[in-house]
Amino acid sequence: MTDEFEKNVGSDRRTFIKRLVITSAFAAPVVSSFTMTGVRAVLSQGSITALANSNATPPPGPPNYPEQLICGQVRDPKVPLTLDVDDGPIHIKVVVPADALPGEGRVGAGTIVCIYKGDLEALAAEVPSGETPISAYAVVWHANNNSKPDALSPITMTVTNDVTESGDPIYVFDKDTGDTVPAGTAGATMWEVSFVEDPAYVVTRVGPAPPPEPTPPGPAPVRVEPDFTG
């Protein structure tokens, strides 16, 4: 490092910048940018550095599921990962059991798991005729090499939503054909699904949709119970 360089760095920053330069070989400058929402869970685990270093970014949502609600990262695979998020009056909880997905390894960050919200209007064209989408969420993940490993034990998603009624059909989108496939029925005010491949679900109402629930003001509170052990 030359004196000329040091002169051009603020005196209060010299120690830190010098350490950065001395402790790293030169690599092309890289900026990894994320939305706060997308990395909120990751940040809570203090692992954004690992996330960025691995070139891993939150996986994109499936078609018609544009809104990312929350992401979390499996670091220690022995510890379950729980994602909890409120979407207005609706509560979504995803539980990744221990040893279901790869954790942090020598090659980079662990599997990143995200919940996406479906666009009910857009999904109307995808569901069977005569049915109307009333609730739709997808769970998407990818490992540090961008692969999408199947979970070794079922992941569960529980959606608590006053709009759903007992018997409302649940559909999952077939990954190959994109068609809706029946995946059970909702209970009163909630629906729950289990899966080992990252799926996109939609719950419908036979006939016209019920009126939407009022949304309380303010940002959606997010609760995360990460698998952070360090």
Binding site: M1, T2, E4, F5, N8, V9, G10, R13, F16, I17, L20, V21, T23, S24, A25, F26, A27, A28, P29, V30, V31, S32, S33, F34, T35, M36, T37, V39, L43, I48, T49, L51, A52, N53
Partner: protein, 93 residues
């Protein structure tokens, strides 16, 4: 026409980490991780240096045989696109 001189915008929260800097941008609800060389570029965005000068200084920091002009221009464009830096015209100094 002389080169503009990039400067950090107001409203950023920068935090030093072991291998770079994390910048929170509350206005845009974005967070940026800068690796060590990007962090050095960011530090040099004071409105005092042109992109070419920043590349020369980065080259001096790591004692590179040539200044990394292309790499620095690329990361400056990225930071500019994200609204983390803006360009101060030379005559405004």
């Amino acid at each position: 026409m002389s080169e503009p001189r990039p400067t950090r915008v107001n409203g950023l929260e920068a935090h030093d980490v072991d291998d770079g800097i994390i910048v929170y941008q509350l206005v845009t609800n974005r967070v940026h991780y800068l690796n060590p060389s990007a962090a050095v570029v960011f530090e040099l965005c004071t409105g005092e240096h042109t992109p070419s000068e920043i590349a020369v200084l980065v080259g001096e920091a790591w004692e590179l045989p040539e200044p990394p002009h292309e790499e620095v221009a690329h990361v400056l464009a990225q930071l500019r696109d994200e609204g983390v830096i803006s360009d101060v015209p030379s005559h405004a100094r």
